[in-house]
Symmetry: C2
Subunit: 325 residues, 2 copies
């Protein structure tokens, strides 16, 4: 883009004001930022008297129900397609592939955004897509209400680990202080997002952490979640979300690797890291991507083969030139 | 006080500028806010060319070493005694009792502050003593540096659970955004404070949570840490800190009770709560006090008796008029 970010914020706000009949697309396996930016934008547009629906290939997660308990999809013919927090067509999922060529506007913060949309407003320095959305709305004097403020708060809080991670900027804190002029039940929200666990979830965390393996001078921890473990606990698929941060709890770990079995011979790897390693680059070597501190990829093979592939990619990043088991 | 808070911030800043040879007192079992406000103030005074030492009845915890790795106590005759985050003489501990009658200034945020000092600057709406200290320093244009900024950040972050708890205000977020103009390694700090655990600590957490008992329609969870458990794990006393938040992780829990054996027949109870219960009032009934969401008390008896005393105090607060096991 030739325009500066601030200019494009104002232009994007004008775009939002001058269009109607919105389909808002969010990525598969939606997290707090996808849900927050999707429903935050939807709410704001509806408050402006416009038609807007949120579309996702996966069901909206129950843990974020407080973001959409007011929402019913409307019946209208879509005219404008906006994608939020959606970096790549690969993340559209089955239900949204039909819209791949018709995205008018993408609002995002992923440096890896592939530029598939006709227009893209991207700030890779923003902690969350919700932060970019907030800048657009304030640049255009588009009013928030308690619900859209709660949505935007949730996106920023979840993507920064509640203001814990490196991507938390002074601007993040200023935005949140402004959002707090709305009635956001942030303490119960944060408790639900970051603290509370079902007894079944507590059990699986204990199991998974108890079986964590450490490699490369204990700087890399690997946990694995297999179909067998999942079926034995009786937990829902959703309750297995967010395990990826667990290996980072172990003292001394620089790269945490979580391997989850998707189907026979197919695994999803999630990596997290301290400032000492860039997991976006590491996952890139395995055909994936993401952020420097949080990234992922899909790998095929047996569980042991997948572990070896992950370790071979992690080793050089931790200064182990040649990695041999 | 007849003065407004803002006036007293300026006055306190003038007090700090016009005195010298400071002993700064912090409470027993110092937490992040005690350590942050103690060493933050000490650093600022030393940068002003003054003598200042931090005094505590307990050793400074190793987990906060990054706040005092620059510090050596100076040799001088004390002339000015300032207590920070210290609500009550009871929390002076053995080594500091000698100063009980000589505290010139107390900087605090506990509504339960007993007013033992000659002058008290108290904002019960502040998230942390560090927040009050920050207001004083900025009111008096007293400059911070990277180290004092790191100390103040730590106090606010720890007392708000990294901006998660109800006591997090818009002002908190604004202050933190200002502090971030200094070089604070907040991501590694937060990881160390909130995420990383030794393998031994992970084990004890699993043990303690695994043995949690729930009462009163599962709204009250009790965990107990006995001498026996502590000696079996081989963990240091310090590694047992911060367990009090564990019972709040269990879904549906409104009051979390952690009972820790201090010596034969003597127990320390820590309570945490959601907005639905005021544990300051509950612990008050047992001779203790604190904040609405985090409070404590000391109770004598056998472990079973102590549990019963705790439950009898909690039950009415949760709407159980008469509590019978």
């Amino acid at each position: 883009m030739k325009t500066t970010l601030t200019e494009s914020y104002t232009e994007t706000a004008e775009f939002l004001k001058s269009h109607d009949n919105y389909y808002i697309l969010i990525h598969v396996a939606p997290d707090g930022d996808a849900m927050g930016s999707g429903f935050g934008l939807c709410r704001v547009l509806r408050e402006m008297g416009k038609n807007a629906n949120v579309l996702c290939s996966d069901p909206f997660p129950k843990r974020y129900e407080y973001l959409y308990d007011w929402y019913e999809p409307g019946r209208f013919t879509p005219k404008t397609v906006v994608a939020v927090d959606l970096a790549d067509k690969k993340l559209f999922g089955k239900e949204l592939t039909a819209y791949e060529e018709y995205v008018d506007m993408c609002i995002d913060h992923h440096v890896s955004n592939t530029g598939y949309a006709k227009q893209t407003v991207l700030d890779p320095g923003a902690s969350a897509a919700c932060e970019v959305l907030y800048e657009i709305l304030t640049a255009g004097n588009i009013p928030l209400d308690d619900i859209s403020a709660k949505c935007i708060y949730t996106g920023i809080a979840t993507d920064t680990g509640c203001f814990k991670f490196e991507n938390t900027t002074p601007r993040c804190h200023v935005i949140v202080s402004e959002l707090m002029s709305f009635d956001i039940p942030y303490a119960p929200i944060n408790r639900q997002l970051f603290d509370i666990k079902s007894k079944a979830r507590l059990t699986i965390e204990q199991q998974v952490l108890g079986s964590a393996e450490t490699y490369l001078d204990d700087k890399c921890a690997i946990i694995a979640v297999t179909h067998k473990m999942m079926s034995e606990t009786g937990l829902s698929k959703e309750e297995f979300e967010g395990l990826a941060s667990l290996p980072m709890q172990i003292e001394g770990v620089v790269v945490g690797v979580t391997i989850k079995e998707k189907e026979e011979g197919k695994f999803k790897i999630s990596m997290r890291s301290t400032e000492e390693a860039d997991v976006s680059a590491i996952c890139g070597k395995l055909g994936g991507g993401g952020h420097a501190r949080a990234a992922g990829c899909s790998v095929e093979g047996t569980l042991e083969q997948v572990k070896m592939k992950a370790l071979s990619a992690v080793a050089p990043a931790l200064g182990f030139d040649l990695w041999l088991s």
